[in-house]
């Protein structure tokens, strides 16, 4: 295991063990110290639940929500920034998103089987927010809105690859890799940041292939090797992703893709 993880676990365990006796005044001071790691708060919350301290449970839960509220609000704004919305819609939807997230957080935090919250709070929060993000888009019928503008210039990598074909380095056998130009063209014309958003809307089985080829710049062959699948599978997934992308783009402003 990574040494950093072990050190972090040890530090958290030590911090937890040095807390003042449960429910004492000093204990609540320590709990409401804004520098206390959230992972410790989760552990304390679960101890409160186990001991049946309903008042303590509420107080700790409320404190966790308050401590993460600013960040969660910024997250909601980021999510809404990615969508084409009216200004007045944003505040209402931000509220809905935060409410959904807090509900999910409360469920997760009180579930003692979800141990990773006691080890890496923020990372668990990422997953919770990912879940809320997806549910929210599905519910609002905004699973995908093709509002992104597409780049007009010819990508540098494409120009470089054409040069490469015209001037092979030593006039030896030139390995010609025939790739699907339609797929390439469509994905290459999408802005990089928009590509990630587009990928999010694809079914899971297409995501790795698209990211490897268009985000990491791998060839189809390399992608097949990395994923331990055949070249044909890679091509099929590319075609599948293209079909999805085409349907999304052709469905104009009210584009909706149901995975």
């Amino acid at each position: 295991m990574d040494m950093g993880v072990v050190e972090r676990r040890t530090a958290l365990a030590e911090m937890y063990s040095t807390l003042p006796p449960y429910a004492s005044a000093a204990f609540w001071c320590a709990v409401e110290d804004p520098t206390l790691p959230l992972e410790i708060l989760v552990k304390i919350l679960r101890a409160a639940i186990t001991s049946g301290d309903e008042q303590g449970r509420r107080r700790i839960l409320e404190w966790i929500i308050l401590r993460t509220q600013a960040m969660n609000l910024l997250w909601a704004q980021r999510v809404l920034q990615m969508l084409s919305l009216q200004v007045d819609e944003r505040s209402v939807l931000a509220r809905d998103l935060c409410a959904d997230l807090h509900e999910c957080m409360m469920r997760a935090l009180t579930d003692s089987e979800r141990l990773f919250w006691e080890e890496n709070f923020l990372h668990c929060l990422y997953f919770e927010r990912k879940h809320v993000y997806r549910s929210f888009l599905m519910r609002e019928g905004l699973w995908y809105k093709p509002s992104a503008s597409r780049g007009m210039r010819i990508p540098r990598a494409l120009v470089a690859s054409l040069d490469c074909l015209l001037q092979p380095p030593n006039h030896d056998h030139l390995p010609l890799e025939i790739e699907d130009e339609g797929v390439q063209g469509m994905f290459l014309s999408v802005e990089r940041s928009d590509l990630l958003q587009t990928v999010l809307c694809l079914p899971d089985k297409f995501k790795a292939v698209i990211l490897l080829i268009f985000w990491e710049g791998r060839s189809e062959k390399e992608t097949a090797q990395i994923l331990s699948v055949s070249d044909r599978t890679v091509r099929n997934r590319l075609q599948g992703a293209l079909a999805v992308l085409r349907s999304v783009l052709s469905s104009d402003n009210e584009g909706y893709f149901d995975a």
Partner: protein, 195 residues
């Protein structure tokens, strides 16, 4: 997904994020090749992380809760009392404490009231509320906001943009704790100040 697999996925993706945050630029292909069982789930998370989470400031970046509440404590004011005195609620106070609200959108009257309560010059309060913004302003942010083309190398630029801080009005409108009366009072004050 099975709980054990779920935990493994959390560990794997946490490692990826730790690498990104340490500035190491991990390669997705390494992770997919190393953990083929989780390839789809890893790709799903990585796309989401770079599209959404990377642009959201962490709690450390937003600011640690010290100055405002510490000063209030020095004046024997609990956070809830400070909130009540200002006709606000604790959630808004914490956002002010964390300097998570766009400073230009905070009403002048609030800064004045806060300065009186905390027995501080209003310029000190204004500086505190706006200091993080000053740090984030400038060409660095503009550069980060530039749209990048897919054909360029990923290492040269971030995939996402920086999120602007919410306005005070947005906070007031979305607060779950403020009453309707408080909300309308603050909106009227904002209107009066033309914010």
């Amino acid at each position: 997904m099975h709980k054990e697999q779920d935990l493994s996925l959390l560990h794997i993706t946490a490692q990826y994020v730790a690498e990104v945050q340490a500035g190491r630029q991990p390669r997705l292909s390494d992770y997919l090749a190393r953990y083929p069982r989780y390839a789809d789930a890893i790709a799903d998370f990585v796309a989401y992380y770079h599209a959404v989470e990377e642009a959201v400031p962490s709690m450390d970046a937003i600011g640690t809760m010290t100055t405002l509440l510490t000063t209030a404590t020095g004046q024997r004011l609990l956070p809830s009392q400070l909130a009540a005195e200002l006709d606000l609620t604790i959630d808004v106070i914490l956002l002010l404490e964390q300097r998570a609200i766009a400073p230009a959108t905070i009403p002048h009257i609030l800064c004045e009231q806060m300065a009186t309560l905390l027995q501080q010059p209003s310029t000190v309060v204004q500086e505190y509320l706006g200091s993080l913004d000053q740090r984030q302003s400038g060409s660095a942010v503009q550069k980060r906001k530039q749209q990048m083309k897919i054909a360029e190398e990923g290492a040269d630029y971030p995939a996402s943009s920086v999120v602007d801080k919410p306005s005070f009005r947005a906070i007031v409108e979305t607060s779950l704790q403020l009453s309707a009366e408080q909300r309308s009072r603050w909106c009227a004050m904002l209107d009066a100040e033309g914010i």
